[in-house]
């Protein structure tokens, strides 16, 4: 089985001094392997780890696979020492009352507890939840829960890993998850990450991942649109090693359906990737970055952008951030 795409890049998830909120999307076997690796690294780095998931056929967390022989390195010791705490989903729902506010309070309590215990950093991970995602209301509620993780990560050194089992979840749940997590997601074939207001794509984008990729593109466009002074989505394609017409069409269709006046600016586009995009048809709202001029000779000048400022005033794009520091000494405050 090929190595997951994220191998060798795990350190990128852990940015000293600030939190992260990422999605790991894969078939169940690869999902568990990646999660075990992530939990093991967080434990090794001295984080307090909170794990929420399903207890199958048992009520004892010590029987959960994460602390078993194929689980996280050091997991069995950690659950014994209290560095790793497990909570099964029925208990989570019971404690938070099934509401977003209740869940947020639960998470803040966990962060506060970890700091009280003297841990410097916190890691939270939750297994795929098998949401029905039957209607817009549920999708909205889900998005609200995920925004809470963004808020927590922006204020405290808390790393969150959401797990998504691609073959077990409903299509709508996969779609919504990918859209919400467009900022930092890892799948077997591809990955995406927002850095300095630019959306970096990497890996192989083909028809097999077209649906989830399309969801991420829509999520990225929606997210960018929330900042009216600069609603454009800048997409860096330098690390895209393969793009087929299916994913190119998905991207161009998403650009067509984006808000009026919102542009999609493609940066560092490899020549063959650009050719695929031209074959499927590029709408007027999609531009190329002139600074990466290889192979742009046949591109109409109007679609080459060279007026994007290289530097901008630092501005946090994450909601709720006060920009006043995120050190461990800042304690979480319970919402009223």
């Amino acid at each position: 089985m090929p190595s997951p795409a994220w191998e060798g890049h795990e350190d990128a998830w852990r940015t000293p001094g600030s939190g992260a909120h990422a999605l790991l999307a894969a078939p169940i076997e690869d999902l568990r392997a990646g999660t075990a690796s992530w939990v093991g690294r967080e434990l090794a780095a001295g984080s307090k780890v909170y794990y929420k998931g399903w207890l199958e056929g048992s009520t004892n967390p010590e029987h959960h696979w994460i602390v078993g022989p194929w689980g996280a390195p050091g997991g069995r010791e950690a659950i014994g020492s209290g560095q790793l705490e497990f909570l099964d989903y029925p208990t989570v729902i019971e404690r938070c009352g099934g509401t977003n506010e209740g869940l947020f309070r639960l998470q803040l309590d966990e962060v506060e507890q970890a700091f009280d215990e003297g841990w410097g950093t916190v890691a939270m991970t939750q297994e795929t939840s098998y949401r029905p995602m039957l209607d817009a209301a549920e999708a909205t509620q889900f998005a609200g829960q995920e925004r809470a993780f963004d808020l927590i990560a922006s204020r405290w050194p808390v790393n969150t890993l959401c797990q998504l089992s691609l073959h077990d979840e409903r299509d709508t749940a996969v779609w919504e998850s990918m859209a919400v997590h467009h900022r930092d997601l890892q799948s077997l074939q591809w990955s995406a990450r927002i850095l300095e207001d630019r959306w970096y794509l990497s890996g192989e984008l083909d028809v097999h991942v077209a649906r989830e990729f399309g969801a991420a593109v829509h999520g990225a466009l929606r997210s960018a649109w929330r900042f009216p002074e600069r609603p454009d989505l800048e997409v860096d394609l330098a690390a895209v090693s393969f793009l087929d017409t299916a994913c190119a069409q998905i991207m161009m269709l998403a650009a067509r359906s984006a808000a009026r006046y919102q542009r999609m600016i493609l940066r560092r586009v490899p020549p063959l990737v650009r050719e695929v995009i031209e074959v499927v048809g590029r709408p007027r709202s999609v531009f190329y970055d002139a600074s990466y001029g290889v192979g742009l000779a046949n591109t109409p000048a109007a679609h080459v952008v060279d007026d994007i400022p290289r530097s901008r005033a630092p501005r946090s794009r994450r909601p709720g951030s006060t920009g006043t520091g995120t050190g461990a000494s800042e304690r979480p405050v319970r919402p009223r």
Binding site: Q249, R256, G281, N298
Partner: protein, 369 residues
């Protein structure tokens, strides 16, 4: 023996079977034509090759390992000078075609197929109609129209005509050539066993197929952008094959709705209930020929949708960048037809061949140098 090109559906069609072929140079034409001619001879078809003297000599050398005279006849191959067909649409043009199409030999071959069982492989070909290979000579607009009037008429001469054009011809010549030759034939594969055989049962398999094709193509001398383009072309053809397989499964189940839409038929990308399409990859020096074979169970598209194109001369000017495309690339239309033009943008040639119980998408990629 190298298999010759398979043209058109097993069901005989009236009129001429008229295809185009883009070639790099004379050597390329000879390399491509030799197996086509050999295949036609093996099928006991009358073969007429209408080319210049130098090409005739080279082709004869390859076929018979001997020298060719000005008008040689080589074990059934008739060589005719380009003048036999150089005035498109003229009376002489029509007379030549009718002469080749109306031979007693061709008639006897057609009669012989009536005695063949339904599974006889000869039904996979056009009904042993004469095979004419010619070099494309551009004419005036009226002459081009005249030629199409003869070759595309339902009651035209029952003959297969393959026209070869240089891929580096003037853009206007190439444009006219493509207009008049909707179907492009691809050459027979290099001789020998396939370098790779694999199947595509679901979209998840495509990444592995790409890796294998990359490995085989690298061994055949592909590198750099040629390698990337070849892999992409094969991938796109495999996607089409997969969708056709899904559609065939739908029809086998009595469900007429095509599931070959953009994206995966189901969450896991599996063509539930379908027979996987298979890929056969053959390589020669600097050449990659891939057949994506889709079992159809005898179901045929409503129309012969074999279209092909070679690499574009340059990016096409979009008519309206804002309007969404009329049809998504890579779809199987409700009538079962597919458009392979987008595949052809990344390879030398692509074509679709319908047979009795299967359909094949053939991709030809040539390495530079």
């Amino acid at each position: 023996m190298t298999r010759g090109v398979s043209t058109a559906a097993g069901t005989p069609r009236p009129g001429a079977d008229h295809r185009g072929l883009l070639v790099v140079d004379r050597a390329d034409l000879v390399a491509i034509a030799a197996p086509m001619v050999a295949g036609a001879l093996a099928d006991r078809r009358r073969v007429v090759v209408v080319v210049d003297r130098a090409t005739a000599r080279e082709l004869a050398d390859v076929l018979a390992d001997g020298s060719a005279t000005a008008r040689p006849t080589l074990t059934g191959v008739e060589f005719a000078p380009p003048s036999a067909l150089d005035r498109h649409g003229s009376a002489a043009f029509t007379r030549s075609l009718n002469e080749w199409a109306g031979s007693e030999r061709a008639g006897s071959e057609r009669a012989g197929l009536d005695d063949c069982g339904p599974d006889d492989p000869r039904h996979d070909r056009t009904e042993a109609r004469p095979f004419v290979l010619t070099q494309y000579v551009p004419g005036t607009p009226d002459e081009e129209a005249g030629a199409r009037a003869v070759l595309d008429a339902p009651n035209g001469p029952p003959v297969t005509v393959i026209c070869a054009c240089a891929s580096d011809a003037e853009p206007s010549v190439l444009a006219e050539f493509r207009r008049g030759h909707r179907l492009l034939a691809s050459p027979g594969p290099p001789a020998g066993a396939p370098a790779l055989r694999t199947t595509v049962g679901d979209t998840e398999a495509l990444a592995g197929v790409r890796r294998e094709v990359r490995r085989v193509a690298t061994a055949a001398g592909f590198g750099g952008s040629d390698l990337d383009r070849a892999v992409l072309a094969v991938h796109e053809a495999a996607v089409l094959g997969y969708r056709l397989a899904c559609r065939a499964a739908d029809h086998a189940d009595g469900d007429g709705d095509a599931k070959g839409r953009l994206g995966s038929p189901d969450t896991a990308g599996r063509a539930t209930g379908s027979t996987p399409c298979r890929l056969e990859v053959r390589t020669g020096e600097g050449r990659l020929v891939v057949d994506v074979v889709v079992p159809t169970g005898g179901h045929r598209p409503d129309d012969d949708a074999a279209t092909g194109s070679a690499r574009a001369d340059g990016p096409a000017e979009p008519e309206d960048l804002d309007e969404p495309p009329d049809d998504l690339l890579g779809r199987v239309r409700p009538d079962g037809t597919v458009d392979v033009d987008h595949v052809g943008r990344f390879c030398h040639a692509v074509s679709v061949h319908d047979r009795t119980r299967s359909r094949a998408i053939r991709v030809l990629a040539l390495a530079a140098g």
